[in-house]
């Protein structure tokens, strides 16, 4: 990006003063190197978001920001319903409540490596992944409605999870305000055979070694021990969320004029929070959040079943489950006044700091775990929410490395077989139904995740706790 268009606030904060219809400034958090690497479209998108009605304080972009749809991926914006604020289907995206969870195994690297190939094969066989895969849980109409209302709580009641997991999932595994009646027949049909499926693209299930600890106290509180292994699962609300995104985006594009909203980009399609369409979308979107929470809980359950075949203690307690494509109602302090805001995070992770009321008691002194998925070669990070993040970006942080290369360019640069072989030489087993899919997700197609998390820490968004190195990666 051309940095001359920004006012530099610090080494990692860059401001764009309001111009051309922006209601608030835009702020991007990143080092100068990451800023220069960012697509110019991030500038366009973060400033377009600042033009939406009812936006509060600023439109933000995280260090992993890249060109998205309407919002940049890595975009954060909060809206006040009492000031004509909007809810945007484009600001949440197609994969509603896509997110990450990490389970602890308390198994050493040596224990896992001793059965690495067999474990990889079993996980690939047991957890449905890739286009055309199906889950074993078929939902009739009644079960579908119960799932859309209950989220991970529903999954656990059905025996697909453990009650103690709920404390480690945002909103205890169930988004309130879900309205199954706002979920179309098409969306329901698309989900009928997709419960407990991983999906494809950048979704994955990884067995990872805790390779480095940066904050010993917080790591201990999270249950992370150097040399032990964890399992991280990245996926979302599957076909149901995709269909809800598709349908409401269209409705909002068509009705924007009716609501007197001038869209700087059609993909920013939105409706006033206090409108029939806005309320209907919120009800559907929260149903999709519950679908994603249930889906990840089921995949966690399937993973536990596989581990139990290999190890005596296969409990795999849940460290945390956090979504990064959402709109949530939260209370934030604005100029000394606490206000209820609708916070959109599109490819951005909520990152509550220490002592936040929304955190479970055991984690409260340390801040919320923020799980940052890297590429399958580079590894991932666990961060912790910081107090400063509330002021910086409504308690938000990055969500991943962010792509530096298109899928097309990646397949021209690497062959899938070579990527698999190279990673195997590094001790990482890749299991995927598609070698082309592997090539598209090659480590070199992503930015340096270390630079992204260092940037997030320097910006006061979240601090580093641990680095996770992959041993097994199941990709869809």
């Amino acid at each position: 990006m051309d940095l001359s268009r920004f006012e530099r606030l610090s080494d990692t904060a860059w401001r764009i003063a309001p111009f051309g219809g922006m209601r608030v400034p835009a702020i991007v958090y990143a080092t100068e190197d990451l800023m220069r690497e960012m697509d110019d479209k991030v500038f366009d998108q973060v400033t377009n978001v600042a033009k939406l009605p009812g936006i509060v304080r600023a439109s933000y972009a995280m260090p992993d920001a890249h060109w998205g749809y309407g919002f940049p991926i890595g975009g954060v914006a909060a809206f006040d319903a009492d000031e004509g604020g909007v809810v945007s289907a484009g600001g949440v995206g197609f994969d509603v409540s896509c997110g990450v969870r990490t389970h602890l195994t308390h198994l050493t690297r040596e224990q896992v490596v001793s059965v690495q190939q067999e474990l990889a094969d079993a996980l690939f066989e047991h957890v449905p992944a890739g286009v055309g895969s199906e889950g074993e849980i078929a939902l009739d109409e009644q079960a579908m409605n119960a799932m859309l209302l209950g989220g991970a709580q529903w999954a656990i009641e059905r025996g697909f999870g453990r009650a103690e997991d709920l404390e480690r999932i945002e909103e205890r595994g169930c988004a309130s305000g879900a309205d199954p009646a706002a979920v179309s027949e098409h969306a329901r049909k698309r989900q009928r055979r997709e419960m407990g499926t991983l999906g494809s693209g950048n979704h994955y299930l990884e067995v990872q070694e805790v390779a480095e600890i940066f904050d010993a106290k917080t790591a201990a509180a999270y249950g992370l021990v150097k040399g032990e292994c964890v399992v991280t699962i990245h996926c979302g609300s599957r076909g149901l969320g995709h269909q809800i995104g598709t349908e409401y985006l269209r409705d909002m594009v068509i009705s924007a004029q009716e609501y007197g909203i001038e869209l700087p980009d059609r993909e920013l399609a939105c409706a006033p929070i206090k409108s029939e369409l806005g309320q209907k979308y919120l009800g559907a979107m929260r149903s999709a959040i519950n679908c994603a929470l249930a889906n990840r809980e089921i995949i966690g359950h399937l993973t536990r079943q596989v581990f139990a075949r290999f190890f005596e203690h296969g409990e795999l307690p849940l460290m945390f489950d956090v979504s990064h494509n959402t709109c949530k109602v939260e209370r934030h302090a604005i100029d000394g006044e606490t206000r209820q805001l609708f916070v959109h995070r599109k490819g951005a992770t909520r990152a509550f700091g220490p002592d936040h009321e929304g955190l479970p008691e055991a984690l409260r002194p340390y801040g919320q775990p923020v799980i940052i998925g890297g590429s399958m070669g580079a590894g991932s990070y666990v961060l912790a929410g910081m107090e400063a993040s509330e002021r910086q970006a409504f308690s938000s942080a990055c969500h991943g490395a962010g792509r530096r290369m298109s899928r097309h360019a990646a397949t021209r640069a690497w062959g899938g077989r070579k990527v698999v072989d190279d990673l195997r030489a590094q001790g990482i087993i890749i299991k995927s139904p598609s070698l082309r899919g592997v090539a598209e997700e090659a480590p070199g197609a992503y930015k340096d995740v270390r630079a992204v998390v260092d940037s997030a820490e320097a910006a006061g968004l979240a601090r580093k706790v641990a680095f996770l190195k992959p041993l097994i990666c199941v990709k869809g």
Partner: protein, 147 residues
């Protein structure tokens, strides 16, 4: 029926880059042919369309208030049919009259082993959306697909 990427000068498709996802573009002598080619471009992001046997047909009938919305609706209808029927498509026929589209997709049940699909299309977006006649007899239909 459009089955290849470059049959005639107008009947062809291509991809264009997007950071995280993929842009699809179809050219045709008519709006219908451009839609057929855009659909092939979308399929080519998922699988090699030539590997898909044309064993089953699925009909699609759509109306939209604007031509460009019709393109998004068409691609989203195909994404829905693929997901719901567990199918992949390899060829398309489209006729457009005003803002009414009648389409037919030809394909077969997805085989993970034979097709090895690279990605799943989540939805067609309004990003980089264009459905225009660039010059008489050359229609361009394009948008970004979230994968």
């Amino acid at each position: 029926m459009a089955t290849t990427g470059d049959q005639v000068a107008t009947g062809r498709w291509e991809h264009f880059p997007h950071d995280a996802d993929i842009g699809v573009r179809g050219y045709g002598a008519s709006p219908g042919e451009a839609c057929e080619q855009a659909a092939l471009a979308m399929m080519a992001a998922i699988v090699d369309p030539a590997t898909v046997r044309l064993k089953q047909e699925v009909d699609v009938d759509l109306e939209a208030p604007r031509l460009d919305l019709l393109l998004v609706d068409w691609l989203n209808a195909l994404i829905y049919e693929m997901a719901e029927r567990r199918m992949l498509f390899g060829a398309f026929e489209v006729k457009i009259d005003d803002n009414h589209l009648k389409g037919r997709a030809f394909g077969e049940a997805v085989s993970r082993a034979r097709h090895a699909p690279a990605v799943e299309a989540k939805g067609a977006t309004y990003t980089e959306l264009a459905f225009v006649e660039d010059r008489p007899g050359l229609w361009r239909a394009q948008c970004v697909i979230d994968v």
